[in-house]
Structure formats: structure tokens, C-alpha cells
Amino acid sequence: MGRNMLDVAVKHAFPNFQLDVSFAAQSAGITVVFGESGAGKTTLVNILSGLTRPTEGRIVVGGRVLLDTQLGTDLSPDQRRIGYVFQDGRLFPHFRVAKNLTYGYGRRRRRTERRITFDQVVNLLGLSELLERRVTGLSGGERQRVAIGRALLTSPTLLLLDEPLANLDLPRRRAIIPFIERLRDELAIPIVYITHDQDELIRLADTVVLLDHGRTVASGGLENTLSRLDLGGLTGGIDAGAVFSVSVAGHDDAFGLTKLNFDGGELVVSRLAIPHGTRLRIRVRARDVALALEKPRDISTLNVLSGKIIEMSSGSGPQVDILIDVGKPLWARVTRKSTADLALAPGKLVYALIKSVAFDRFVEQS
């Protein structure tokens, strides 16, 4: 297994539900555990934090064994040093913000265990204005920032975020995500981020763990995992698509366009107000990709990428999902009729056409 930052392998049996999850993260960074409700996310979180004891399993964080049912090791929640941020914040109503923040800090008695200071956390999360406030007067976004700060001040060896944005509206989510990215960049601790939101998955994940009906159906790097055709149904039927890590290669001010580079090619999109060199993740939805057998001429579409078909979905529905290697895995969703008319099959060279306005999501990466 090597020295992973995080090793998890747990099984838990409920009367009518089986959880069997295993994944690893090699370095600090964000591991997004993604799944629909009922996939077992909450159970997994409770097992990680020590609130539920699994039937069998092993959890190792940074070389420290938190749970090993074979060895009989099972640290209680207060000994695990996992910073757990709950979906609903769970701030203590009888304390002001500052005292909420220091609740866990004061309980790390040994100085050597304190790896982060109060001031660092306050700066990192922008909490200085809130310290004297009562918890009941905070907005949803402020509450979650305080909750994250409170967890961080326990100097955790793992930060566990359980759908921290689920109860927030869109503007508040947008406001809080940069803080989570700062945690990733400035703290050398692994972060496990539970969500069922695809945008959060694409924006935050370094490593992805896909859960379905209590099982890990896939885990690994973001791009590779999301490009797996057999996971199409899980990664979102409506929004199925490929994720590209790109960087801004230049702007064309005359026509209001921006060029994006990725390993193996270039994409042209509508002008983005971000500087040259910025790295981003973009999503190309399968339904926005059309296929041609010959390189089209005299066509309005600016992005034409060539590549071989790797894989095609089987099934009897009217549509077929096709995975094409254009230097990166790219998905196209076409009708079964077109598949037959063009005699599409794995190994065949095709041209993928993507309209420049079709990139619906641009997410800044630091």
C-alpha cells in the first residue's frame, strides 16, 4: 500500500443495507466522496469519525491507525483527531463565535499537537469580524465558515466535510468554495469532502470516490474516473460529460474569444475575463458534442478535435454514449440511428465538433 495519507477499507452490515467501501489518497488534497442520497455517504462519514463502529474494517490516517477491527483498535471520536464539519454546522448556541472556535483547541492539551493557531484560522477563513457575535445571528455561510474553523482548530490529521454547502443557496456556496480551496492549498492535511453535487465534485476533487448502493464503484483521479463510460449513469445522467484541465493560452480580443490549452490540443471558447496562464477545469457535456467521419469544412463550429473511439455504451435506448480519445477522454452523446448510419465502432477515427458557446462551466483552479 505504501505510505498513503489515507487508507480506508470498511464493511458494515445493516439489516437491509450493506456498506463496503475502500479507497486511498496518496497525498494531501481533496478526496470527494460522491454519491446520491442513500448511497451510504452518511454511514461512511459516521464510521470515519468513530460515531458508528463498522462490522469490520481498517482506517489509517497519515500512518496512524484509527480503526482496525482485526487488531481490536477502535479510537473513540474524541481521540481520532478528525475535524468533522457537519452539514448543519452544529455550532454551540450558548457560546459566542470565538468560544465555539476554541472549544476543540483547548482540548488539545499537548502543545505539540497544536499545529495551527487561532490567528491562522481566523485569517484563513475571514472570521475576524465575527468573533464576538452570537451564533444565532450568523448567516448560513458564516456558520459553515465558523464550523470549519472550529474543526481546524482541533489540529486534525484529516478534515471531514459532510456536504458542508448543502444547506446554502448558490451565492453563499460560491462564496465559501474559495475558502475550502485555500484549506487544500495551505494545509498539509487530507480532506474528505462528501457531496452529491456535481459542480462541487468537478471543482474540488483531486481524487474521486464514487459510491453507489453502499459500494465503491470507482476511485481515482478526477478526469480518468469521470471518463469511465460504465459510470455514466452515476456521474449524472443529464449532465454527463468530460472534464478537462486546461490553461488559458491567449485571448482574441477582435472576436471576443479565449484559447485554452490542454494536453494534446486546444479549445476556443467565448472570451473569459481571466488572465493568461490561469488553470481551470471545464466540463464539456456529452450532449454538446457532435461527431463527423470526415473533417468538416465551411462550418461555424470552431472546435474540431480528432480522435479514435475508445468505447461505446450498449443498451437499447435511443441514445448512445461514445468515448473518444482526443488526447483526453471526451464524451459524445449521439442517437442510435446516427451510430448505425455512420457505422461507428471502437477504433474508428472521428471528428468531434464542439460549439464554442457549449462550455457551460468554467471553474477557477488556483
Binding site: P77, D78, Q79, R90, H94, Y103, R107, T154
Partner: protein, 231 residues
Amino acid sequence: MSWWLSPNEAEALLLSLRVAFWSVLIGLPFGIAAAWLLARRTFFGKTLFDSLVHLPLVVPPVVVGYVLLITLGRKGFIGGWLYDTFGLSLIFTWRGAAIAAGVMSFPLMVRAIRLSFEAIDQRLEVAARTLGASRIDVFFTITLPLALPGILAGIVLAFARALGEFGATITFVSNIPGETRTLPLALFTFTQTPGGEDSAIRLVVISLALAIAALIASEMIARRVRRQIGS
């Protein structure tokens, strides 16, 4: 008629306050423990335990007084042991009156505290555990402070009930001036004595004032604490 208390009446009032104070102080830890058990635990015999706690509320106070007399009296199995070991006698003393008042007011105290334990969001306690607090730590830093409105209400109710205790007290520790003659006992005595009407009226007014003050205080404290913990 003078509104000033005679020395005898003042003595009864002070004695009552002292008895009620100690009855609440001694009863409180047990009240919190019983309320916590009833609110948070399931165990064999819980229903029986619940009934026992509530018994003083429904049993004639004389019965409670008599049970105390035969268990805590000098020949009783607890009272005898207390006397032989510590030389402590409860019968016919103000301490015994405090015990009687404590037992009689116990159910009221437990009910108020139990309700507030039940109203606490237990997910907050779980959160505290993940922040590194042990169970006992969580109890004292999260559970108890959040239950404070109920605890204060319980204290005030129990205090008011203890001030008014009559039946169990007179049965257990009798009606000794200066030792066990509390406000209600003094009032009873005055009503039985020719010419005691003025004294009786004064004690009635005081009893009413104390009871009303206690209820108002309880409500004010609860409101204030509720605002503070924001629930």
C-alpha cells in the same frame, strides 16, 4: 392590626427559607441525575423508577412523612445507621424537615429538568465529541449549560414547593418551635390558637408573596437564559 412580624413569625419564616434552601441544594444533584437517566437512558425497571420519582406527587404527604419516620428515624434502618456512625439525628430536627421538603419537591424538580434535557439537540453533543471532548466533558460543557433554563425552573419550583411543605414535615419531624415549625406549620398552629388570627393573616400574605415571587422569578430567569443560548 400590625403588619410587622412578631419574633415567632419571623423565626418561622427564616426557618422555612433555610429548610427550603437546603432541601433544594441536596436534592439538585439527585434531581439532575434522575432527570438525565429518565431523559437519556433506557434500562430495566425504568418505568418503576419513573413511578417512584413521581410518587410524592400523588401519595398523601402523611404517607411520605411516615415512611421517612420509619426509615430515617433512630430505629429505622438508614436513620439508625446514620445515628450510630455519625451521631446524626434527623428526626425532630430542621435537617429532617429539609429532607422531607426535598423528597416532596423532588418530582417537580425532576420534571422540569427532564424536559430541558429532552429538548437539547443531541447532535451538538456528538459534535463536541468529535472536537475532542470526552463524554463527561460534553455533559458539563454542552448538556448542562443547554439545560440551564430547565434546571433553574426546577430549582425555583422545588424551592416554592419546599416552602409550602406541611404533611410530610409534621409527620416526620413534628411541630417544634424554632426547630421544625416552618411557615405552614406556624400558620396551622396560629389557626388552632385563640387570638392567632392576625398572625395567621400575616403568614398567609407572606406565603402568597413568596409563591408569586418564585413563579415570576422562574419565568424571568428562563426567558433570560433562553435568549442567551438563543433557543
